[in-house]
Structures are given as C-alpha cells and as structure tokens.
Amino acid sequence: MTEPLIELEDVSYRYGDTSALEHIFLTVEKGEFWAVIGPNGSGKSTLIKLILGLIKPLSGQIRLFGRDASDFREKEKIGYVSQKSNAFNRAFPATVREVVRSGLVKKAGLFRRYPADADEKVDSALSAVGMEEFAERSIGDLSGGQQQRVFIARALISNPELLVLDEPTVGIDRKHMQSFYNMLGRLNREKGIAIVLVTHDVDTVSELVTHVACVNRSIHFHGPHEEYSRQESEIRTEWYGHAVRRVHHGSKAADA
C-alpha cells in the first residue's frame, strides 16, 4: 500500500483566543475525492491552510505524502485554488499565459527560467479548463468565472497528484458550475488526481465525490459518501436548523 497523501492526527488550531479547529483526524488516500462541508466560520479554510503549510498546527501532526508537513518540499505535487483567488487587483498587468505559467514556479526551481516546454504546458492546462483561446488576454479583462478557471489551470499545470480547492465556484454561474464539477470528476477518474474540495454545493457534487468530511470546529463526520448520505439529514438539521431535502440520491460506489 502506498502512503496516504494527507494525514492529520489530532490537529488543533486557534487564532489568538478563538479556537478554529479541535482534534482533527483525517486521512486522504490516493485517488480519493473528498468534499469538505460545513457552515461559515466552521474552519474549512483553516483546515485547507493547515494542509498547505500556510499555517502551522498548534498541536497534533500533519503528514503529506508520508512526510512531516514541515519537511515536505515537493509543493508542486499539490495544486491549490484558494477561496480568494480573484481578490487580486483587476488592473494587474498580466496575461492569462503569465498567470498559468506561474504555477510552474516551484517545479522550475529558484534562479532558473521556466522550462522550454512551459508554453505547451500552459496551452494544455488551459484547454483542460476550456480556456485555450484566452491565453494572450489580460487576466483583469476576464469574468470572475473565467478567472477562476484560469486559476484551476494554474493549479493543474505542475501535474499535481493532489488538488486542493477552497470554494472554487464562487462567481461561477449554475451552468458552468455543473461543467466545472464534471471537469473535476474527470480529472479524478481519468488522471487519478486526488481532490479535496471545500464546497457548499453538496447536492451538485454528490454524484462525484467518494468521501465527505463535515467540519464544525471538529470533524463531525468523515467517511465514504454512502455513509454520509445515510446520516445527512441529521447533520444538516444540526447545522443549518432545518433538514435539507435532497433532490436525488446518488449511492455512488467508491470506484476510485
């Protein structure tokens, strides 16, 4: 058996006096597709930042690809799309190509130029998200949803084994959202990329994900998707004060 991609063992984190996460255990294996759900302020983004090494846990241990997170250097194995990706300044002078290429910054190495095939890689990453025609456009001239796809391309360009996305569909309309999630599903099934997706659209992704983690300061539930379906109405009642009726039931086999 190969090492898990992510292992959190009894991890806690606090911002000053506010406890954000308590005693988190989580294991993400190769090829899995996780949905991380929870109400606003429940610590989802904090969990993501811990995984990426942007913040250090107060206690507990985080292992990435079998290595202690603080010793983990191969960051190009993890693609990241943050919740605030399109918070950048619209007047920033950069082409889509330049932005996507910057996803190779770690792979290329300090003091080195981008590799000779960087342009090809940009093109194929852009066509994976259906944005190949926009390569030479200014990033600020795109719509919010288009920008978000560019940031996914930036995350994909280094051929990551793990994709971490924090509410990536902010600003994407319904129609594109579905096709966006389908794209994630394809990446997961066809390329075997493991995905950790923070989202509020549980229903939309329910057909695609293999596992669900419900976060509210601590993890209330984590496990295969079918089990989550069984307990779902209780979890939702507890969080949102009312049971949400699901339109369809996806009893997806864990085919990953």
Partner: protein, 291 residues
Amino acid sequence: MITAIFDYEFLQNAFASGLIIGLVAPALGLFIVVRRLALIADALSHVALAGIAGSLFLSQNVIALAGLNPLYLGIGSSVAGSLLIDRLRELYKSYEELAIPIIMSGGIALGAIFISLAQGFSTDLVGYLFGSVSAVGREDLYTILAVAVITILFIVLTYKELFSMSFDPEYSRAQGISSRALNIWFMIVTALVVAGSMRIVGILLVSSLMTIPVAAAMQIAKGFRQAMLYAAIFGELSVLGGLVAAFYLNLAPGGTIVVISILILLLVLGGKKLVASRNTARNEEVETGEL
C-alpha cells in the same frame, strides 16, 4: 549637445548614469507599483537624505572624512531604513502601512538636524534634493553601475518568484516560496536603486521615476513583461529628454525628468482615449449600417 558629450566628462557621467537609472528604476518600479509599495520608495529616499546630510556634515567636521562621497552613507542609510521598515511591518502586521510614515519622518528629522548643524552646503544639498547634471562624478557613475548590475541580476534571477509573489502572495507561499527572504532582498534592492537614482533625479523625485513610467506602461501593456518593457522605454525617454532640457535651460534635471514623464503619461492616456472613441465610432457606424 552630441559634441558636448565628447568634450565634457561630467556630461558623460550624467548621461551614462541617467541611461542606467532610466532603465533600472522603472523596471524595479513595476514590482513596487503592483505590490502597492510606492510610498516605501518615498520613505527610503528621505532616509537617504539623512545619510547624505550626515555625510556632508561629517566631511565638514572630520578632516579624515573630508573627501567622503555622500552617496555611500546615502546608500547605507537607505538600506538600513529598508530593513527597519521590514521589521516594523512584521511588528504591526495588520497596520503594515504604519511603518512608512514612521521611517519617513525619522529620515526627514535626522536630515533636518544635520542640515541645521552644518553651515554652507546648500548648493551641494540642492543637487541631492533635485538632481544635478554637473555634479555627477566618475565614482558616482561606477557606484550607480554596480547598483544596476545587482538590480538586474536580482530581477532576472528571481523574476518567476517576484511575479508570483506580487500577483498572488498566498499562492506563492503555498508553493513553498520563501516570501520572507525574497521580501528582505526586494527591500534592499529597492533601497539601492532609490539611493543610486538620487544623484540624477534627486531625493524628492526618486519615487516618481519608479512609478510614473510604470503608470503609463500599465495603461497600454497587456502582460507583465510588456509592462516592464514599456516602463523602461518611457523611463529612458524621460531621463534623456529631461537631461537635455536641464543642460540647455540650466534647470534641475529632477524637475525636467519628472515633467517629461508626466507628459508621456498624459500622451498615453490621451492616445488611449482617442483609440477607444474611434473604435466606438466605428462600431456605431457598423451598427447604423446594419439597420
């Protein structure tokens, strides 16, 4: 003028220094502008003033230091100021901009003290405040050249990282780029360029050469590389035009350089508007034609 350059060494020094600064200051300035750090260049130049005034004062009062080139203490204090700003920004994390007025007023205060302590270096000082065509020596030129080599090496070697950090700081940290180390180097190089540009454009106008050509370039550039290219071209045009005008009209080059760079900015803005209104006019024509 062309022949004058061959005749006078001081003109060679001024023009060579100007050409170097006209390239380097806007190129680094692009990163400063997109990272919203324009005020830092201003703060550092005022710290450099303290160094220059201190050096002039020392030269007056300590015989061993009579021949000291003020540029060195200017560079030294500006680099020290950049490290201080970096520390203060760490200290007041959620009020990063607080560091700038503290350092800036500190620089002016020290400068004021040295200036009032010393007597009679007003002409020297005016040269540092607004730039000078005649006062640039060979030693200045070589120092400026060294500053430029360091700056260009820094930009070329860390271009990827600088771009990534400027565009999306969180993402570049998630990629494992050490923003802390890069930031400190960035501040040091900025301090070097600020101090190096001072001889030509003057303390009070250094930050303009780092920002105005960039502002014009950002109006028309599509990408980052293109913005850097345009910024450098506009910088060179401003410095060349400004030095020629300063020499013939006997004016302070800082003033003429900055006025020309503003004229370029206005031309770019006007030209852009013209193109845009032409385009809409053409579109309207097409639309009415279709009716």
